[in-house]
Symmetry: C2
Subunit: 484 residues, 2 copies
């Protein structure tokens, strides 16, 4: 991990040899000049115009969608179009102990793709080809930069779909989903991204190419390296191709249902009962009144504001309506003040806007904790208590069927304001752990949650994680100091 | 891996110090005398009567259910009753570079649990307690020695079940299922064992205790160590507790259907169509006429012998009958000579007896290959060709819905007879790989498939696997020389 600040910073000065072989004019003097000891000759020879050092371009690739702060300058960005490009880039960086950040669409929320000062950026956005869809085996082969919704749409043409659907599905990439083991709204029915990855092609830290997994339903040859790379947040290798599983589209239209509750704790009890029942929803989301109000204010659509919380979900398949009715009965038994089948799916679409709506209202500091579904009511009661103790209002949105909560708080843009918000989020995170939970359900660790890691993992677990990191990336060039 | 033959063999002779602290009389002189340089004092002090060296007992733990041959003598067997026992055993072996074999019920089919000459055996059969069932979260906490069918039965009391069901479900253990990532008949509907493991407690090679995973549905903290240990065949650590997921029992009784075909290739085409259809069966098994005849001869129940192949399966849930009818229509479209809904599930029960029936008929040499379901017809056609080329009859049983084939052949008990059978199995295995398949779908590598490993994994993949093994077990004491 020591490569991050490993003396890569030269003085502003001569830039001649860095630009010698450039053929596109996109290399400029500013970045190279900040790190003038680096010789880019081999890299530009291998990548030609696909290695870019122009500051106005590079800077676009230096941050992600999190509040992680980047200061400094990356050496440049590799706009890879092939596995060979990625191998050239990593081989070059490996030989020079240069840190590498990896990115798809930059929609990550924890600073996993933020650049390193003096580091190389590998962007996979141009590797956006759906290589093959094999409907009989329900498999798709994709490059990492494919937009998730595009893969889903292509699968639809064969009567199939790609179940993982993070809220950013229209902008995020499949490679990023795999690197972070992304979740989403449909996990309650279909599991997380790792459940849908059959095989990977990965460029290792030293530029070698690794193939994992198989196209078969069962495969027990060696350790499950596919699952090891899923969720590894760019710290073990760069995914350059994936074989993902697809699922048959359910018959008929989804049925959307909703229920209002006086408070989150009662809604949480309802969720526990629903998940334990045979009426499994495909989507089961919980929003507190604050969040619903924010959505309605920022994206007006006529949503009614509940007294305490709105539970909204969908059922699918031939028995969708009967399952939705059974779920509403459980809601009523748990004290829902009003509940109904909705005429359309606009409530689910509105829920997808909660993040931008809360951000627009200034609530940018968030957590991504998870608890067993049976502990949801306790969790919500605890969050209310913590909010009161800190005197800061908390907005809660939950993939409730998974027990995955995103609590968001506002913070004045001052060091003390941010510190107060962080302290509150820390308390919520510790509460989740005390309820057999997790510090992150779907966003990952990245930079933002680094300090929380020892709260969940003990010394032995961290040791083992680091031993694996060291085994696969002994020079620590891949996304160093993050993830684990 | 060099510890296997690391000079542990002393001469027959003085055994005094090995028995000093024994308090049960189960230590005897024979085993210790073969390895008289080993001092058992610390081990017997920690484990008392739970460390056994009596040959008549130890020999029961030296082989598994495979054709792997064990020669030599293990030092003794640890009949562990707790994680502490396992930690004591591994800590002791680690300090002395002594190889360790690990076993549940010894039902493995690839020699993964065979003992090492001069090695220690850790048996987990006494750690057979179901610690907790949490129906609201659909989780069970179990010790590794719990019989798989016992866990399933306990889950039934809560309206739940444990989906993994290898054919040996009534004798195998959950720990063994996890260590081998076991499959079974219901995988076509529910996936493999790794899909049902939420968290593990593992004793590492040096005796430290590692906790992986979480009780939450989503958890993206660090690398997925749970999935890394599932299927690691005793080479990375010893699983001493597991939190496994349970599923709701489907409503109503299962519906059993069957179809006869003139040959396996036609039946394979039917399976491809069934799996691609929305009528997903819970079980979909294919048996050739030779196998059906063997079952009927060894366990007579009045089964009709098909001309070429029998496809048998089950559907479950509220639409079980309609799904079964849709499947029969697909069978007829693919040339089924006769097909029907069965009056009971006796055909599925009969299928579970195929392995003992074929073994009773002398067909003991088997493969466990897998292919994508779309390649099943090609695979069966190729197996018929290989059988003809070698002049040896092949019996085929397949978890057809997963594309997972167990082809079995008879071999006269002579070196040349066994070599001829092995050569045929090798050809079938290479055929599966040429069809994008795998050398093992559910049995694992163990000792028996070690030579096939480089057929599927290239040098980079093997390098990465070994790097992980070396990182977690640097002295190579855990199941050395097997698995990867």
């Amino acid at each position: 991990m020591e490569t991050h600040d490993s003396g890569l910073h030269g003085n502003e000065g001569d830039t001649a040899d860095t630009d010698d072989t450039a053929d596109t004019g996109t290399n400029n003097t500013r970045a190279a000049s900040a790190h003038s000891t680096i010789d880019f000759t081999d890299l530009t020879a291998a990548l030609r115009g696909r290695f870019v050092t122009e500051r106005s371009i590079v800077s676009l690739y230096e941050t992600d969608s999190s509040r992680a702060v980047f200061s400094g300058e990356a050496l440049g960005v590799v706009l890879a179009t092939s596995a060979e490009d990625v191998a050239s880039a990593l081989g070059w960086a490996h030989a020079r102990n240069i840190p590498v950040s990896v990115r798809g669409a930059g929609t990550g929320l924890v600073g996993g793709a933020t650049a390193y000062d003096g580091g190389l950026i590998v962007s996979l956005e141009r590797m956006n080809r759906i290589v093959e869809i094999a409907p009989q085996d329900r498999l798709a082969t994709v490059q990492p930069g494919v937009i998730t919704a595009d893969l889903d749409a292509a699968a639809h043409e064969h009567g199939l779909f790609f179940p993982p659907d993070p809220a950013s599905v229209h902008t995020c990439t499949v490679g990023g989903n795999i690197a972070t083991n992304a979740g989403g709204l449909r996990c309650v029915a279909h599991g997380v991204t790792s459940d849908w990855v059959a095989a990977l092609t990965v460029v290792l830290a030293d530029g070698r190419v690794l193939r994992t997994g198989a196209r078969t339903r069962k495969n027990v040859v060696g350790y499950d390296l596919t699952r090891l790379f899923v969720g590894s947040e760019g710290t073990l290798g760069v995914i350059v191709e994936a074989v993902v599983r697809l699922e048959s589209l359910p018959e008929g239209d989804p049925v959307t249902f909703w229920a209002d509750f006086d408070g989150l704790a009662a809604a949480g009890s309802a969720v526990t009962d629903i998940v334990a029942s045979p009426s499994r929803p495909e989507v089961l989301e919980l929003l507190d009144a604050f969040t619903v109000r924010a959505i309605e204010e920022v994206f007006p659509s006529g949503m009614r504001i509940p007294a305490g919380a709105l539970l909204v979900g969908q059922t699918v398949g031939p028995h969708a309506a009967a399952h939705a009715e059974a779920i509403l009965t459980l809601c009523e038994a748990n004290g829902a003040t009003e509940s109904a089948i909705a005429a359309d799916d606009s409530l689910v679409e509105a829920r997808r806007k909660s993040n931008p709506a809360l951000s627009a209202r200034g609530l940018k500091i968030a957590c991504d904790v998870g608890v067993p579904v049976s502990r949801l009511a306790e969790m919500f009661a605890g969050v209310a208590e913590i909010s009161e103790q800190h005197g800061i209002e908390v907005a809660s949105v939950a993939h409730a069927g998974d027990g995955n909560l995103h609590c968001k708080v506002a913070a004045p843009d001052t060091p003390s304001g941010i510190a107060a918000a962080d302290a509150l989020i820390d308390d919520i995170t510790r509460l989740a752990l005390s309820l057999d939970g997790t510090i992150t359900g779907e966003h990952g660790i990245g930079q933002v949650k680094q300090h929380e890691l020892p709260w969940q993992l003990d010394e032995v677990a961290i040791d083992v994680q680091r031993a694996i990191k060291d085994a696969l990336d002994p020079r620590g060039i891949l996304t160093p100091g993050r993830g684990i």
